[in-house]
């Protein structure tokens, strides 16, 4: 398996602040790769560096074995989809999509065919002569995707393309984007701060924080086997319990003790327990009280106060009254060191 985009020691200084701090990554051909992190983590800076919109303070970006340092953005031949669509309001939909073809001096018949194909691909019809301003956000973003793809770029970069859209549209469009990407065999780099979106569409995810790479892996790796506290906390809901490991046991700062089946070296650590891995029982377990109950549709979510492990967030289908005593057990846990 080759490497479509290799990033080596990418660093970007904005004044004193490091927007990117020594990031190295390999993105494989045909992969749907997501850069995920809170705002200001450097994900967009990295994406724009790949596109050539901004340069790196140091480090290298290599496309398919070719170092693109000093190669201007307009010579890189990548497709880019913007958060705010960036459609030209003074051009029709047809002229927006045809733009890249005209720059490549394609003849009019080819332009017509390719624009029609691109529109069909994003499932739009009869919009060629309309202006972007007359259309909904979802349609505009579809047109922007068609405009980026009409010139057959090997790489598609997407900068939070769905964050200006409403919730339902986000879900359907992200599935369409992944479907198109797989069909065309593109390498896609997708930037988002929405962890649910990242988990659903990505082949692999790079979680970033404060300019640094926290973890790279498949959605399963990231969710089930986070390596760092930041990742565990950022992806999904998490109970993070601080404590120390002592001879095969975890001793929480709040006093509770748990056997650690995997063992682990002695020293401070944090235990990650996902809310769905907390089991509530009226018959036994670590004693606690149901402090709050939140109805969230598919599940019920509780805040349970325990003496041994502090406040815990619990997801379960069963019904418990606020204020009632309850027993708590953990079906899965993971020890984190940093």
């Amino acid at each position: 398996m080759g490497t479509a985009i290799a990033i080596r020691n990418a660093t970007k200084d904005f004044g004193r602040k490091k927007a990117l701090d020594d990031v190295s990554l390999d993105i494989r051909p045909g992969e749907f790769f997501t850069l995920l992190g809170p705002s200001g983590c450097g994900k967009t800076t990295l994406l724009r560096a790949i596109a050539g919109f901004n340069d790196l303070t140091h480090g290298e970006i290599i496309f398919d074995g070719r170092n693109v340092a000093g190669l201007e953005a307009w010579k890189r031949g990548i497709g880019f989809v913007f958060q705010n669509y960036a459609l030209w309001p003074n051009k029709t939909v047809f002229e927006n999509i045809a733009y890249g073809l005209r720059i490549r001096k394609q003849d009019e018949a080819t332009v017509r065919t390719k624009v029609a194909d691109a529109l069909a691909m994003v499932r739009l019809v009869d919009v060629e002569q309309r202006y972007p301003g007359e259309m909904s956000g979802g349609m505009q973003q579809r047109i922007a995707i068609a405009r980026a793809l009409v010139v057959d770029p090997p790489i598609l970069l997407l900068d939070e393309p769905l964050s200006n859209l409403d919730a339902k549209l986000r879900v359907s469009l992200r599935r369409d984007i992944r479907e198109i990407q797989k069909r065309l065999g593109l390498t896609a780099v997708y930037v988002t701060h929405d962890q649910e979106e990242a988990l659903e569409v990505s082949d692999r995810i790079a979680v970033m924080s404060q300019g640094k790479l926290e973890q790279v892996g498949t959605p399963e790796d990231i969710y089930e086997r986070p390596e760092r506290i930041f990742v565990a906390d950022f992806i999904g809901a998490a109970n993070l319990i601080k404590g120390v490991v002592n001879n095969g046991s975890f001793i929480a700062d709040s006093g509770g003790t748990l056997p650690l089946p995997g063992g682990g070296d002695n020293g401070p650590g944090t235990l990650l327990i996902r809310p769905e891995h907390v089991v509530l029982s009226v018959t036994g377990g670590i004693p606690g009280i149901i402090a709050n109950h939140f109805y969230v549709g598919v599940n019920r979510r509780y805040r349970v106060e325990t003496q041994a492990f502090g406040d815990l967030t619990v997801d379960t289908a069963t019904r418990h009254e606020e204020g009632s005593d309850i027993g708590v057990a953990f079906s899965q846990s993971r020890l984190l060191r940093a």
């Binding site: 919109f53 880019f80 960036a86 309001p89 733009y99 890249g100 010139v151």
Partner: protein, 685 residues
Amino acid sequence: MSLDDRTTLLQRVLPLHDPWKIFAIAALLLISILIVVPQLWIILASLREDGGRFTFRHQEAGGRIELTQETVAGYTFTERDGTLVATLSGIDLFALSRAGPATLMFEGLSGPLTGVALDANRLRLETGGRRITMNQTVPMGLFGTTRLPIAVEQISPTRFRVRHGSNAFMEAIDPDPRWTLRNFGAFLSEPSARTALINSLVVTLSATALAGIIGVSLAWMIAKFDIYGREGLVVLVTMAAVSPPFLGAYAWRMLLGSSGILTQALGLDWTIIGLHGVIWVTAWHVFPLVFLLSYDAFTGADAALGEAAESLGASPLRRVLSVDLPLAMPGVLTGLYMALISAFADFGTPKIISLDLKLMPTLVYDEFLSEAGANPSMASAGALLMVAVSTAFLGAYRAYLSFGTYATVSARRLSPRKPSRGVHALILAFAAFILLMAFVPHGTVLITSFMEWRSGVVFPVLTLANYRTMFANELMPVLISLSLATVSTAANILLGIGIAYVLVRKRYPVIGPLLNGIVMMPYVIPGTVIGIGLILALNTPPLVLTGTWAILCLSFFIRNLPYTVKASEAVLFQIHPALEEAAVSLGATPLRSFTHATLPLMASGLVSGATLAFLHGMTELSSTIVLYRPPWKPMTAVIFENTITLGADFGIAAAMTVLLMVILYGPLWLITRKTRGQMARAGAV
């Protein structure tokens, strides 16, 4: 150093890969030459003092050396036992004494002294680093005195003897200028300059205060209440905002001057001539700026903020004082600041209201161009003082704004309330009074342009003669004004777009801040000063442009540059950079992506900026008056001359002003209806 290293170095020095950087450097060079260099010339001129001169006569009768006091400049002389000691800049330079009939003795007091007879009538002296040339003029007396050529005899390194014609007048000139700070002291110690400074400050502050009271209160009423003809009123005030700067002065003087129409008709023994008149006219000239910016500020504030105050129990008055006014403050203040600097720099109003009244712009103009003894050094010192005052205004304004930012994103605009009948009537009356005062000048000029004028006095006879004379004799100024305004506006827009783009999007280190700083300089430099700077800088080879069409065009270009750059910046901020990046990602070069994606979107937004530059160009007076020379005489200069010259043809001035108003208001009317407010905002920095 390898070849590769050298290529990168070359690329760094010459950024050939980045056309915008090349443009930025070129623009920086150009505006440095046009804006910074003239100011440096002014500074140089203000620090120069002519070398000095004196004339004396060596009289045989009584054997005296007689100094002609009124010819002494630069030097000071003291007499000790028949010896004259010449002092320059506090240093005793040489002593001069009689050494026999038609013989003088020179003695160097600060080092060696040399003397050379250049020819029969000229002598050159050198001592203490100064050169002095002396000319001998020998009167041919009744008794036919012998006329002797100058002869020099060196006696010691510091002394020499000069023989010359009997009773000769000797005129001495030091041709080398000296560097000194005395001009500033001299300027400030001169009573007329002190008066001018005080007058200027009094006029500026009182006129701005008056304009503030009128403008802010009207703006608040119109923003708050749903008044009949609200939109029309705003359009009318916008039109008043761009009336020619001298129009008010000229019309008010025509009405209430010492031989004014109203003064004579009503037999008043009171006239508008004087400081009070300048304040009154200036206030009406600058109030539209205050009104438009305050109106925008009052209507732009988020209505929810005021409602929040009311929901917490604030009374209407308290709401105004604690929420509405503080929120609108930055806008109101910007309006007041703009009124302040334009009142301070206004040349036409004080000059037209009274020829004798001295304010800073008129004083500097007189010092620079006066037929009786122009003094560029003093004028330059005064010019720098003006720049200092308006920079101080800017500093105060910026300091106030930096105390806190009140920027609000307007979610929902204030919807005006229906006033009660009485309030409605009162506001309408107030607005009508303001409009009446604002348009008195326009009406006066329009009416008198159709009347007969005979040697500066109007007769109630309707005639088209003024227009006939104007079209027959004075068509050139119209063409000159139109071409100046058009060409300078085009140059402003071209360069303005480019500079704004570089400032907003490229943010180059060093070049960007420098460019921004220099572009904004004309904002605080009064027009008179710009004119003087251009004359000083472009009066010597390689570029001699004084008195040409080009120098006027340059001046208009410079004066409007801050406005067009700011207007272009405002438009650019509305256009998302991603629009251009989208084109780049599809393979468009930087220039192509700019012309395809950004430029078309900027065009519509720039109409108001261009209109403003054109209107400024058509009505420019304060630098025109310093710069123009026949035959390149714009309309404003013709009008101005015909207003201030005694017995000149007021009729022509009136007819030409009407023509100027037609040229201004025709296009403006159409544009204002679409883009009201943008114009005023374009001026806010």
